[in-house]
Symmetry: C2
Subunit: 314 residues, 2 copies
Amino acid sequence: MNRITGLFNVRYPIVQAGMIWCSGWELASAVSNAGGLGLIGSGSMYPDVLRDHIRKCKAGTDKPFGVNMPLIYPQMDEIVNIVIEEGVKIVFTSAGNPMKWTGLFHEHGIKVAHVIANVKFARKCEEAGVDAVVAEGFEAGGHNGMEETTTMTLIPMVREAITLPLIAAGGIATGRGMMAAMALGADGVQIGSRFVASAESSGHERFKQSVIRAADGDTALILKKVIPVRLIKNEFYHRVKELENRGASREELMELLGRGRAKLGMFEGDLGEGELEIGQISGLISEIKPAAEIVEEIIAEYDETRKELYERTF
Amino acid sequence: MNRITGLFNVRYPIVQAGMIWCSGWELASAVSNAGGLGLIGSGSMYPDVLRDHIRKCKAGTDKPFGVNMPLIYPQMDEIVNIVIEEGVKIVFTSAGNPMKWTGLFHEHGIKVAHVIANVKFARKCEEAGVDAVVAEGFEAGGHNGMEETTTMTLIPMVREAITLPLIAAGGIATGRGMMAAMALGADGVQIGSRFVASAESSGHERFKQSVIRAADGDTALILKKVIPVRLIKNEFYHRVKELENRGASREELMELLGRGRAKLGMFEGDLGEGELEIGQISGLISEIKPAAEIVEEIIAEYDETRKELYERTF
C-alpha cells in the first residue's frame, strides 16, 4: 500500500484521467476493474447523462471509481448534487478554486483530489484540505496551465512545497514514464492519452486512429489568450495559429473557436475542423488496446524498470 | 561502466552543458575533476579566447573534458581548427547539421555528441555517425527546438527511434531528476542550470542570484519567430512578449533583440535589460555551490533514489 492506493483503496496508483468525450462509464469501470482508478469525465456531460454514467459504472464494477469535474462547469450545483446523491466516493476537481466544494464533499465522505499546474495552486490545495493533488505538466493534452511548466520540473517543485499525496500527470503512458514520475517524487500517476487509445474509450474511432498516428511535434498548446489547450495540429489548429501569429484578440479567437469543436473532433471524428485534445506522449502510443491490457503492461514495465535501474551501474 | 562513461572515459554519466558566458575552463575542469564531463562553451568566445580556455582546462585537469560548439557560429572553420590543433578529444555540437563536421572530427580521433530536440534530427545524427545524442526538452534554458517537446516525452520517443548512446537534457538538476531520465531510457544526463549556479560558473554574481531566486513560472520560451530561447521573465522579456502578442514581425523582434543581450545579462549582470538564459528547473535550485559538491550531491541522491524505488511497493 502507498499513499495513493491507500487513499483510494485501489491496487495500483494509476488514475485514468477524466477526459471529455472519451471517458464514460465503459472506460472508467474497465480501468477500475483492472486495479487502477477509473474516472468518469463529467465535463462533456449534461447532468442527466452523468447520472446515467455513474449508475452504469456502479453496475459495471464493484471497485472504487471517481468523477472528474471542471469547476468552471455551468451547472456545478446540479453536478455536485448528483455525485452526492449517487453515492460517488471520489471526485477529481480542476479549473477552479478547491476551497469552494471540498468541505461539502468531505461532509459526505467523498475524497477529493484537485488538479493544478503550478506551486501556488498546490499550496492552495493544501489550505483547502483536499486529499491529494494532481500536478499536471505542459505536455498534457487538453486544458493546461499558463506557465508551461513541464512534468519533469513541476513534480519535484510541488513535492518540495507540499506534503499531500501527489499524482503526476502529463507525458506518462508507460511503466518507464510511471517510474520517472515516482523518481521525481510522485506517489502515483494520472494517464490520459494512453487511455484515449483504448478499446473502451468513447472517442470516435477516427480520433483514436489519429492519436496512434501522431508523432513527436504533432501536438501544440494554443489559444493561450482564451484558455490554453493542447491538441493535434490539424486544419483547425493552423487557422488558430495564423490568427495568433497576427496578434488576434481574445474575441477573434473565441469567434473562430465557436461551440462544439471538441465534440466535433473527438466524438464525431471530424479530424479537420474538430478540436483533437491529446498529449505530447501520443507520439509514443502506437496501438489501441483494452484498458485492462494497458494497465497490466504499465505495471509489468514498471516492475522490470525497477529491477533494471537497481542493477544498473555506471 | 555504461555507454556514456565508457564512451567518454569518465566516472559518472553527468555532462555539464557547454553554456555561453557561464562555462569557461574553471567550470569545465572542476566538473571533470569531480568525475563528470566538463564542457567549455565556445558559443560566447572569440577563437583566441577559446584557445586560451582549452589550454587552461588542460592545465586544470588530467581528466577528459570537451568543447561545445553551436554549428551556426560565424567562425566555425577557425573554431574547428583550434579544437583539432589543441588536441581536444570530445566535442558537443548543436544548432546545425551533424553531417558537416563529424567525419573530420573522427579523422582526428575526436568523439562527437550532437544536440537535438526532435526524433527527426535524432535519426539524422545516427546517419551522420555521431557517437552520442543529447536530446534536449522544452524546459531547458537557452536556445531550444520549435516543437516544444518536453524531456518526459522526448527521451522515450528518441530512445525508441535510435540505438545510439543517449544523453537527456532539460529539467534535470538533481539525483532524482537523473533517475527519472535513466528510467525514461537515457544513458546519461546533461545538466546546465544547476551548474550556472556554481562557484566556478563565470556568470555574473547577480545572474547567479537571480537563478537561485527563480521559482516555477519565472522562465518562458520566447522569440520563436527569431530563434526560440528560454530565459527569465525580466523587463526585456516583457517587452519582447508585448511585441509578440501584437503579432510583431521577425524584423521588429530582431531590432529589439539587438546585439549583446546575452552578454549584458549573464556576464555583465544587467538583470533588467539582459537576456538571462536559464531552464525551468531553476525553480528547484536554491544555493550556489562548488561544482564538485553539486556532482557529489547528485550522485548521492541518485543512489538513495535507486534503493528507495527498488524497495517501494504499492
